[in-house]
Symmetry: C2
Subunit: 166 residues, 2 copies
Amino acid sequence: MNASKRSEQFPTADHDHQTCVTHALQEAEDFCLQQGLRLTELRHRVLELIWANHQPVGAYDLLEQLTHEGRKAAPPTIYRSLDFLLENGLIHRITSLNAYVGCNHPGLNHAAQFFICEACGQAAELDDAKIESVIARDAKRLGFTVEKRTVEVAGICAHCKQGPHP
Amino acid sequence: MNASKRSEQFPTADHDHQTCVTHALQEAEDFCLQQGLRLTELRHRVLELIWANHQPVGAYDLLEQLTHEGRKAAPPTIYRSLDFLLENGLIHRITSLNAYVGCNHPGLNHAAQFFICEACGQAAELDDAKIESVIARDAKRLGFTVEKRTVEVAGICAHCKQGPHP
DNA sequence: TGCTATATTGTTATATTATAACGTAACATC
DNA sequence: GATGTTACGTTATAATATAACAATATAGCA
């Protein structure tokens, strides 16, 4: 497997992260072009920062990174960009962290699950149909119509169990 | 089924909520006695308020309810009680709502799933072993050690689909 | 092109949720 | 009752998020 491929697992320490960021941005640009969405300079930069951080990152962290590069930015600036990226499936919000992370499958309006390492801070995005189907079964039993699923599992990733943070 | 029994489903409009609160409190008292935990007057009252609200309730809502009954209370007052109740499994925190709800199975250190109705605000607590096992399987595949699970499903409950909020 | 409607961003203020830090009171044990 | 521990009171502040309105940029059309 190519080391730069963004995949459903925790990234290794030596993967080519720059390529992985570039690829994600390219995919987002293509997607927005297709969909007639305006990936403005600000939105593009926010998405880039999210990917560059390489792990779930808070809104105010992003805000600080923006202002440190000279841009005028207040909380609404960042939250509006996050809203755009969330609505169009380019990022996910991790509720239990109040943090945001790039989506591995932009465009697909999928329900993702996250495995979040409490040691290194990285999160793996899964899209396990089995979890979805079990939730759907429970919902059916309850007569419940599902709108939104939040599945977040915190713990320690394989890399961190073996040694210091990768 | 007894209308006052707290169960793994959405409560009906006509269930005997007072009995259900009383029962929960009695169970908590018994549990704390057994475990040598101090269910102080404040903690008891906070737990009672949580149950009485009958749906996930925010920390500042609880705080207001406390102060309205004449008690001196600041945020740390309520958060400390919430921490005690959380640590001892008497309540759950619903991450996606920043709200707290009574636990249906105090004592069991179980991982719960919540189905949250966006119309009436009520939440049903499930304890579906199947969800747990699927998550465990994914974790094993990732080499991930699970510490904490968050499974929260938002949508519309059966009562609210049929008519106005129950 | 220039006009106009809409979408985006800037700006100020504030809401909401949660914790830090330190002092006081209650309680439990000896 | 002295003493150590736990719980609570109090003040201040951190962290996350949104409301409201002004200014600017963009898109689509006359």
